[in-house]
Symmetry: C2
Subunit: 341 residues, 2 copies
């Protein structure tokens, strides 16, 4: 992804909420990354402590955390995300040092952000920013989360093109008054599949660090790209229904599910772990149900017979961000623990 950003002349500001790991952050540093994205003030504090000096919190600013924000902004270049006059006004009144803000634009996902036709809202926010000693405009930011509902790679590219076009129009409209403004996109499907980024200045993908089964279903990655598996002990077997009970439930994998090409609801795909990695997903096998600590692996005789109670099965998660957030620790294949927030 770093290489792609370089080739396309895009600022690469990866989202660190997926891994939440100081050590994995260092791998990014080695790839030339110096600016990052996080999703909370506490995550910003964690990575600021790891000597990251330019951090964007890509979540509508929670004005109840103004004290922590003020503390943080004294030490690093901090970027916040805003989408309302109220929040920007509150920042203007309460900031004690310089802060940069991205204005969140809703390019079609309809979760958060200002719709591009609502230029009066954008203008009002920009007026407050211009009138404030401590506020500086970073640019416009979008997250096309609607790519996760796409049914084909073509549809993902269409969503991406549409999102890019809207941000580009805003850039044209405001760049003369705000010469430094940048436009930024974030979703991993678009960043993985798109080749044309138009006027986009910055990308902020996060999930791609691990990818997962959902991204595989979307076509954003190959099965070999998935870089994290949850190690689940086998605790029971039920031959009558070809089910294996894994110690790996909603508190380990999360309850996120995906739908495979046969319409089956899937909570994870099993792999066999070896000394240096893992196998392809086991044939005709998938985590079919999940409760708090149990994962039910639905399988077939040839796989069923090869797995015993006391084995450890790897489960490729449907949504690696949620599974990694639940994990207490990571281990690499050198057996060493990888630090985590």
């Amino acid at each position: 992804m770093a290489e792609k950003a370089r080739k396309k002349h895009l600022q690469f500001r990866p989202h660190f909420k997926t891994h939440q790991s100081a050590e994995i952050g260092e791998w990014f540093r080695e790839a030339g990354v110096s600016k990052i994205t996080v999703s909370s003030v506490s995550m910003a504090i964690y990575f600021a402590d790891q000597n990251w000096k330019d951090i964007l919190i890509a979540f509508p600013v929670n004005i109840l955390e103004i004290d922590e924000i003020n503390k943080l902004s004294r030490n690093i270049t901090l970027h916040l995300t805003v989408e309302s006059v109220e929040a920007v006004h509150c920042l203007k009144e309460n900031l004690v040092s310089k802060i940069n803000v991205y204005i969140k634009i809703d390019t079609g996902y309809h979760r958060t952000g200002i719709l591009p036709p609502e230029v009066f809202k954008i203008d009002e926010i920009l007026n407050i920013i211009s009138a404030s000693r401590n506020l500086n405009l970073s640019g416009f930011l979008a997250h096309s989360g609607n790519t996760y509902n796409a049914n084909s790679e073509k549809e993902i590219i269409e969503i991406h093109r549409n999102s890019t076009r809207q941000l580009s129009e805003l850039k044209s409209r405001y760049i003369s008054n705000f010469p430094g403004l940048r436009i930024s996109i974030g979703d991993t499907p678009s960043c993985s599949l798109a080749e044309n980024f138009g006027d986009i200045d910055e990308i902020r993908p996060g999930n791609f660090v691990f990818y997962d089964v959902m991204q595989y279903f979307l076509g954003s990655c190959s099965m070999e790209d998935i870089a994290v598996a949850i190690a689940c002990p086998v605790v029971a077997k039920h031959a009558d229904r070809m089910e294996i009970v894994l110690y790996g439930g909603a508190v380990h994998l999360s309850k996120e599910s995906g739908t495979d090409d046969k319409g089956k609801e899937i909570f994870g795909l099993p792999v066999k772990i070896n000394d240096s990695g893992w196998s392809k997903p086991l044939l005709y096998s998938y985590v079919s149900r999940i409760s708090q600590e149990h994962g039910i692996l639905q399988t077939r005789p040839e796989v069923f017979g090869s797995i015993q109670i006391g084995d450890i099965i790897g489960v490729l998660p449907v949504h690696s961000c949620l599974a990694a957030n639940l994990a207490k620790q990571y281990f690499g294949f050198d057996g060493k623990e990888i630090s985590k927030m």
Copy 2:
């Protein structure tokens, strides 16, 4: 629940996986509880450190944790859950001190456990137990998780009756050879709604400590019984679609959803928090979508207008066990933090 158990002459062994709190555990101790249930070895260690002396780990034993099990069993009366000859055999070979085992029976949920007609399996396990110096039979244990799929209170009671009957038959069959054996049930819907427990010796409900929206939908509790809410800051408002964006997503509430009586998928119900508790759920309002950190509160004009950016909205969780597991801390209405694992 303690009172109900006393009246019905049932051993009350509450499940502590819902709250995972040393301090809330003490409230149980004050209600006369001395035996508890947990779902993992690490949780058993946490509560053993809190001076709990009789702990059941109600999850099929993970034989990879045999060292931790051996350490723990030296200090407390430890009960494990078994459902396979392999696991019991492994325990027999590797235990260093006395351990009690419950045999898990599948009375209809079909997640784990031995089906009652498979008496040959039960016999084989009992033979290993009898031949072992360190193994002692506690009894038979079931969890009728299928009550969570019931469509009426009547259906819950039918499932409960059916489960109770099957355990009772096993008790009759084996009690002469194992005079101390007890039969134990666990699900909160049955324990909340049933009045007749037949031969049951022990109940192990956990969720009832907080209850939640799912239990309310099932009829296990009233809205006023729900005892935990997730405090979610309001970060954005979108009048055009009557949506309020909460800082409360899948990493706070989990992705568990329930279906209300109008067929709507719900991820939580909003309440207004005051100094001593919270309001009834806000009319016509519910968390309709959820992503990693965002919760989208769908609402109507009268509620929409009463909520501002920077407010804190309480969200009654759909599944309190998962939301509490994700929570970093609890606060009581005296403002004090309540300790958590």
